[in-house]
């Protein structure tokens, strides 16, 4: 509790008056495609299940959101379906946005920063010894959002459309050692390759577009589409894209 006190204090002094808490839970099935060039230059992909959980604090001038998600399953190549790759893709994002525009405006926005963490763990069922790998990236970057509220003058009261984009600028990147990706490949391995990475080594774009419908004063339902790309251009080159369609229930209190 003592550790969280400064954070809670910061929230309270930064957001006098208006304040809202939201929690949300979502089902997030999606399609993942990945090329891991240490294993193959073929792309592995599949439609897989996913889930998400988030908490959001909205003050008069800023919002703070923490979201967690997982997407995972068995991926296959398009041309050689006998080969498979089991993947678990975890995300944790903390986003702080300074509000732009008034609460009563149709168009509102936000600009700020984000701390984004991704952990992608892969095991390859059909090979020996280099049968596991992972990518870990903890990034500080920029974030922005844009929202449009379809109020009663536009004929769709209670509906809104929003978009949020996050772009990492500086990242702490961890991958297994160059020549050793056995089933023991672990995030805590002592020989892992670790580096601070800019755009040239680690590039990521994550965008979420959401159509929201206020159901009541406390509840809202959203349909969201998230696309999340990252590319690692290092000794081990990895490219991954995921597209998620989420059904989200938000509770405001």
């Amino acid at each position: 509790m003592r550790r969280f006190t400064p954070f809670i204090f910061f929230l309270l002094i930064s957001c006098p008056g208006f304040a809202q808490w939201q929690v949300a839970i979502s089902a997030q099935p999606g399609k993942i495609s990945i090329i891991d060039k240490d294993f193959s230059s073929m792309s592995f992909s599949a439609i897989v299940p996913g889930v998400g959980l988030s908490g959001k604090y909205e003050g008069a001038h800023s919002t703070h959101e923490l979201s967690l998600s997982w997407l995972g399953g068995s991926l296959k190549t398009g041309t050689m379906p006998r080969y498979s790759l089991n993947q678990h893709y975890f995300n944790a994002d903390y986003t702080w946005l300074y509000k732009l525009g008034s609460h009563d405006d149709a168009w509102t926005g936000g600009a700020g920063g984000a701390l984004q963490v991704l952990y992608d763990k892969r095991t390859y069922a059909d090979v020996i010894n280099n049968n596991a790998s992972f990518d870990f990236a903890a990034s500080l970057g920029l974030a922005g959002s844009l929202s449009y509220s379809f109020n009663k003058n536009n004929g769709l009261p209670g509906w809104s459309l929003s978009d949020q984009l996050g772009i990492p600028v500086l990242s702490w990147l961890v991958q297994p050692p160059y020549g050793d990706e056995s089933s023991a490949a672990s995030l805590t391995g002592t020989d892992n390759r670790k580096k601070m990475a800019g755009f040239s080594s680690f590039f990521r774009l994550k965008n979420t577009m959401s159509l929201d419908r206020q159901l009541s004063s406390h509840g809202a339902l959203s349909l969201a589409y998230t696309w999340d790309y990252y590319k690692i251009d290092d000794l081990r080159e990895v490219r991954q894209a995921s597209h998620r369609l989420s059904l989200i229930y938000r509770l405001t209190f």
Partner: protein, 341 residues
């Protein structure tokens, strides 16, 4: 006009949403997530590059890989058949003379077998079973064994066949009263190193250095991390009498590891022919046409930091002549038995 303004205001976010969706599809293309070309020249280049960046034994083998590319690239063209492409790639890989290099395709499989085909067999399984074990032996998991005149004998055909700690304990328990043990690993071409570890633990009394392993740290032919030590600690039922290990050229990969580990122990004697080698750890890569390439990715060193890629020489060299074999005799086994009397 107010109506038009209202209309434009309403559709603007929809247009923006469409733009974002369109951009997302474009970004995926920009990140090159499409499968690369699978034509013959692309496959050749891909295989050559993977080997160039990841194969660990170019310097040890003394092969000029750039020269190999020059020599074989001219034989490849995009209209060639899969069979012809397979032959070119196999011929290029064969120059490395490495039993861990394999190319698997739907039409054929290439593996270098010269590590044992160029040498005498020095083993006849039927002679062992019928003339020495006389078709009466015990079985525990993948191991057959027997006790004769106070000497134990066991044969582990392949480390690819898994053995449990309980199965090994049973064998050791049954061998408790013997004054020596013969472990025959001839024609064992390797497999799961965990099976090797389980067996070796029975013969050590303290944490013991077994080998060093050098992993690559970059794409250069000599980019290696410092050698990493590999230790084993005792475990399971212990056997403390003298041991003779029978080897031949077909003892390869994990079998080579087993012989390397046991050769460190003072109570062990190696007898027969040199092992086939294959010390490094093999890894796989899937080529863009779905063919699977296997290559050696590390360099294995003895505790004295000597490369064991070409095998381990026996302490006592014994050979089975064709006449011996025709007469159903196994001088290697007989010599081992005599040494433990």
């Amino acid at each position: 006009m107010p109506t038009l303004h209202k209309y434009l205001t309403s559709i603007t976010p929809i247009i923006l949403a469409g733009f974002i969706l369109f951009t997302s599809a474009g970004c995926e293309k920009a990140l090159s997530l499409k499968d690369p070309s699978a034509n013959a020249t692309a496959i050749f280049d891909e295989l050559w590059t993977v080997m160039d960046q990841h194969y660990a034994l170019f310097s040890y083998k003394g092969v000029d890989w750039n020269n190999s590319r020059e020599q074989f690239r001219t034989k490849v063209h995009d209209g060639m058949s899969q069979t012809a492409l397979f032959k070119v790639l196999s011929d290029m890989l064969a120059d490395l003379k490495d039993g861990h290099i394999t190319l698997i395709s739907p039409i054929d499989t290439f593996t270098y077998l010269g590590f044992y085909t160029s040498y005498p067999d020095n083993f006849n399984y039927n002679n062992i079973i019928y003339n020495y074990l006389q078709d009466a032996y015990s079985i525990s998991g993948p191991v057959i064994y027997k006790t004769e005149s106070g000497v134990g004998y066991l044969y582990y055909r392949s480390f690819a066949d898994d053995v449990t700690d309980q199965q090994i304990d049973k064998i050791v328990t049954d061998m408790t009263q013997t004054r020596g043990l013969i472990i025959d690993v001839r024609n064992n071409t390797g497999g799961n190193t965990q099976n090797v570890d389980k067996l070796v633990r029975r013969f050590i009394t303290a944490k013991t250095l077994m080998k060093f392993e050098m992993d690559k740290k970059g794409p250069g032919h000599d980019d290696f991390l410092d050698p990493q030590p590999y230790y084993l600690s005792p475990g399971g039922q212990h056997y403390n009498a003298p041991v003779v290990i029978l080897t031949n050229r077909s003892c390869f990969s994990s079998c080579n590891d087993f012989v390397l580990y046991m050769s460190n122990l003072p109570q062990v004697t190696l007898m027969g022919d040199q092992t086939g080698g294959g010390g490094g750890i093999p890894r796989n890569y899937l080529l863009s046409n779905g063919w699977k390439l296997q290559y050696t990715s590390t360099v294995t060193l003895s505790p004295a930091k000597e490369i064991v890629e070409n095998g381990i020489a026996p302490d006592v060299s014994v050979t089975i002549t064709p006449t011996d074999e025709a007469n159903g005799k196994d001088p290697i086994l007989e010599k081992a038995f005599q040494s433990l009397q």
